[in-house]
Symmetry: C2
């Protein structure tokens, strides 16, 4: 595996690979790899002849007072894991290389970024789409791999790719979970052991919602209330939002129908955790 | 010359050309070709093996109450002129193809777009960078050609290309003028014959500024005042702005020094006209 720090070098290498007929898969990450990241890399490895993993803790997607400084950075371990999977290139630029002096350009997807996580994190998705657009321009991947845990992110990125004719196939892979059901996340490291035990309510409440729907419930309010009750049993949990929406438009549903996303964000201690399920109703 | 309407078709053709080692030059236009446009096409023809001219009157760069509806549309004449020059492809998509239902993505360059023309036209440059980013993604040109008349536009696009690693070389070509000095513009058609005669004050005032600078004047205020006086002699002229700025940062200059852009926008009748000169002081 080759580690590349310079955007220009990475761009040149990828242009050569693409011209030579290689199929480039990109897994954009902020590092601190867990099984979720590794599942994306394996999928890229399986379907692309060249796999690039980007590792960049992107400052523009963190709001003031968020966890940019304390976000876990474990580069040595990350690169060993990526190498084991057979990743070809790790693109790990510096902040200064991605946001040089005088940097001024942002890509923004309207509407879809103003709800759910975007309501609590107003500049978050603008940072995500800006860095992903930039990575796509540097790497020009044929395919890019994202985890379903960030379901809204995938919707936003798909919209950007379609709107701006980026010509990248977006692949979303299922959430990878801990044995007790907690969705894997680099931010789980922020939990105390007591909070860690409580954090299982996110998954538990979503599975209860699934059972309700499977037994015929279609009223979105009643499903959200059931989720609230379950999360309410955790002493340190504070709900940011619970949403039942169309999984591609993110439009709120009153009566569940069609491709449905039930998503939530909950603060537990100092961590803001997200989880979701998708169902065809 | 082949006329292509579908973004996907254009993208496929250009990807094939690029893979085959061709050098692609793009001239983005809104049509209503005059000698300014043609000079860009000839430059593209001279330095690229494949020349694409895009013709799209981009609605997102027109503000409310601006001239989107009355902007001249002369497709037959435009395509004949492009063909004469030896353009290979005319990319002429519909509004709906570029901004389909649900479109939500915008590229914005901050700061540089908030001054000069951006102060009077707050969404203009966001529309320009969005459509140019989109054209660059579809066509993936090696080089793109712009006219110096829209000097601020070139600065903004260069910033975008650098920030987002678009890998496109931006070429700016000199302003082409009518025999009396008026900068060629599709919007000159809006002038009555009396206004047309007065419009020469834009160029005349800039040439006076050039003479003042060449004879040693360095005070930006005094140069702006001299331009104001000249433009004030035209009965229908109403100044939007006169700026003396650094030609790459657009920072206002107090004392002229280095690469200097003197730019202005003036309303004459129903037309808003722009012009500029660049000097190394």
């Amino acid at each position: 595996m080759r580690v590349v720090e310079s955007p220009k070098d990475m761009q040149r290498v990828c242009e050569e690979l693409r011209s030579a007929g290689e199929t480039i898969g990109l897994v954009p990450t902020m590092g601190a790899f867990h099984e979720g990241h590794l599942s994306l890399m394996r999928a890229a490895r399986d379907s692309c002849s060249q796999v690039v993993v980007s590792l960049f803790v992107n400052p523009t997607q963190f709001g003031a007072g968020e966890d940019l400084e304390k976000y876990p950075r474990t580069f040595q371990q990350d690169s060993a894991l990526a190498e084991q999977i057979g990743v070809d290139f790790m693109f790990a630029p510096s902040d200064k290389a991605m946001y040089p002096e005088g940097y001024a350009t942002y890509v923004n997807v309207e509407r879809l970024t103003e709800v759910m996580c975007g309501a609590a994190r107003p500049i978050h998705f603008r940072g995500v789409t800006t860095i992903v657009a930039n990575l796509f321009n540097i790497i020009r991947p044929h395919r890019a791999f994202f985890g379903q845990k960030d379901a809204q992110q995938t919707v936003v990125i798909r919209r950007m790719v379609e709107d701006l004719n980026m010509g990248v196939e977006i692949v979303e892979l299922p959430i990878v979970r801990e044995p007790d059901g907690l969705a894997m996340s680099s931010r789980n490291k922020y939990l105390t052991s007591e909070e860690r035990k409580e954090a299982v309510v996110l998954h538990k409440s979503l599975e209860e919602a699934r059972r309700l729907i499977e037994s015929g419930e279609r009223d979105a309010d009643r499903i959200v209330e059931a989720i609230e009750r379950t999360i309410g049993t955790a002493r340190h949990a504070e709900i940011d939002y619970i949403a039942a929406v169309d999984s591609s438009t993110l439009e709120p549903l009153v009566k569940l129908e069609g491709e449905t996303l039930i998503a939530l964000a909950v603060r537990i201690g100092s961590a803001r955790l997200i989880d979701n399920i998708k169902l065809r109703v």
